[in-house]
Amino acid sequence: MFDLDRWQEIFNAIKQNKFRSILTAFGVFWAIFMLVVMTGSGNGLINGVTHGFKDFATNSAFMWANRTTVAYQGYDRGRQWNLTNADMQTITEEVPEIDVLSPRLQGWNLREGQNVVRGERAAAFNVMGDYPQYRKIDPCTMPWGRYINKEDIDLKRKVCIIGEKVYEVMFDEGEDPVGINIRINGVYFMVVGVFKSNNPNINIGSNKKETIYLPFTTMQQSFNYGDQVHFFGFTAKPGVNVQGLVDRIKPIVRKQHKISPEDEEAIGGFNVQSELQTMEYTFLGINILIWVVGIGTLIAGAVGVSNIMLVVVKERTKEIGIQRAIGARPALIVGQILTESVFLTTVAGFLGLAMGTLVLHLTDMAITAAQAQAPPDEMTFFMNPEVGLPLAISALIMLILVGLFAGFIPAMKAVKIKPIEALHHE
């Protein structure tokens, strides 16, 4: 296998058909190069998209009230109804498979003019009411202070936590915001923390960076929302299907608010789990496409290698005849042709792998550089294009198989050469 005489023959054959060898090897090179670059780009897309919600509770859903679309029990269609504190209570009691349930208020009527004021500074920001457990659904870090806690809720404290953008506008860089009062729609609240979401790409209701969170109970009271709940998020306990819980919550709410069981529109919702699943299928589709194209190209490359090996066998007919006459066994000739074919594909493929990885690396560097320049608000949908070791290893195995496959027909042809006929061959 590693005898010098064998390699001498391979290098000689390649040297004698330099141009043709390079051309055919290019087919395999290109196939692997494309496969690597495409897989890497696909991974880049997946990394970029999933990075935006890497910490978000994937087993979660959100639900809210919409106008009814079906007349029911004396009520006309088009009725506006509201979720209430009592609904939250009932749902929590009747659906024990819910892990955390977090009611939310969305102060869409509050963002008007410059609703947030601190001394000379004034700007427009969103205001939302939240429970401490919301952090379990949408985890965040606290660059300053703390999150909303139970006492805030119980005592209806006039405190707030603010998004990164709010901090930037209302405070000097590096200034400690904790303990400072700001006026929100005419009411003073004390800042107790600055939050930075781990999932900047998922924004439900408002851009989190430009949002102020108040304790839910404080907000209900201060801004006259009564017992309204604008929407709520919940997570399922481990192993529980989220859609199953949605389907159990809906009848409870329908019954409370006299909504027709046929009314599919009245209760709005967003199931993070199933959305993620859809996205995963999309990614799978992208990957399948990449492999189909890549393998198609590789097969074309293999046909090229097979072709040049046929030429090599034909050109070496006499030589093979001589070798056979002086005692070379057919197996040796077959091994020779196969080694040559595998060598050609593997070398070309590895160059493709190396070049592809290099291109991905350069792309990665360019993206990182571009991101450093871009405004921090911009969402990223492409990052860390990469191919892993498994791809490299499967590529190697694939190349060897392709080489064997490409060399098979030429090798069979070489074995069929009869020594005497080959010796007559000039």
């Binding site: 010098l4 001498q8 005692g327 057919p330 197996a331």
Partner: protein, 243 residues
């Protein structure tokens, strides 16, 4: 058991050419003793090469029996045929048939490569044979850098290196001038003196006259098979190392 190295009885060989068949050998009987030096003569197309190829198991025969070293040669697969060739037979061709990208030493060593002998060992042995044929200083030259006589001597070294029982030479001097032809014949006679059976196909009388026996083929049968009255034994043992 006789001391025949090659024994052929009623050998027939046809080449199928499309629908018709060309009957080339039409019943050959032959008995060559171990250590003999024999020439096969005959006009062009009389079947000399065909017979030699069958004796060398490069080709099969249709009818009749062939015993090589008292072993009956029957239809066999290529792997078995290769083993026989490697162990019993050394070939020398008119056109030398050296591998163009291998140097002299590597060409000579090739049969040992097929016997899975390590590169170091086989190259060492190849050098010994090259030295005996006076070509040691040409060991690292490619065939294209050598004269016809030198190439044929390398081919002879290659035929000898696997220590065969029989050397089959198909017009070994056909491509050489007279002087060089005689030198090659000197070497083949020397080889024969070592006890190796030598069979030479030729159509040159002076070459044939340097063998012990001349077999003349005509139209696929043996026309004449007799001891050579003009036989000249090898002049001296030093020919083996003339340059």
């Amino acid at each position: 058991m006789s001391n025949s190295i090659i024994k052929v009885e009623g050998l027939h060989k046809s080449y199928r050419m499309g629908t018709s068949a060309l009957h080339v050998l039409k019943g050959i009987d032959l008995d060559i003793k171990a250590g003999e030096m024999v020439s096969i003569m005959g006009s062009s197309g009389s079947g000399k090469s065909t017979l030699l190829n069958i004796l060398g198991i490069l080709d099969g025969h249709d009818r009749g029996d062939y015993f090589l070293d008292n072993i009956k040669i029957q239809k066999m697969n290529e792997t078995q045929a290769a083993r026989f060739r490697n162990n019993y037979i050394g070939f020398i061709f008119q056109s030398f048939n050296l591998i163009s990208f291998k140097n002299a030493m590597e060409n000579v060593a090739l049969p040992l490569y097929y016997k899975n002998i390590s590169r170091k060992k086989r190259n060492q042995k190849a050098l010994e044979y090259l030295e005996r044929l006076g070509l040691k200083e040409w060991a690292n030259h490619l065939p294209s850098e050598l004269s016809g006589g030198q190439k044929q001597r390398i081919a002879i070294a290659r035929a000898l290196i696997s220590e065969p029982k029989v050397i089959l030479a198909d017009e070994p001097t056909g491509a050489l001038d007279t002087q060089t032809s005689y030198e090659v014949m000197d070497i083949l006679q020397e080889v024969n003196k070592m006890g190796i059976t030598v069979i030479i196909v030729t159509h040159e009388d002076d070459i044939a006259h340097r063998t012990q026996r001349i077999i003349r083929l005509r139209d696929g049968i043996i026309e004449m098979n007799k001891k050579n009255g003009h036989f000249q034994a090898a002049a001296s043992s030093e020919v083996f190392s003339t340059t």
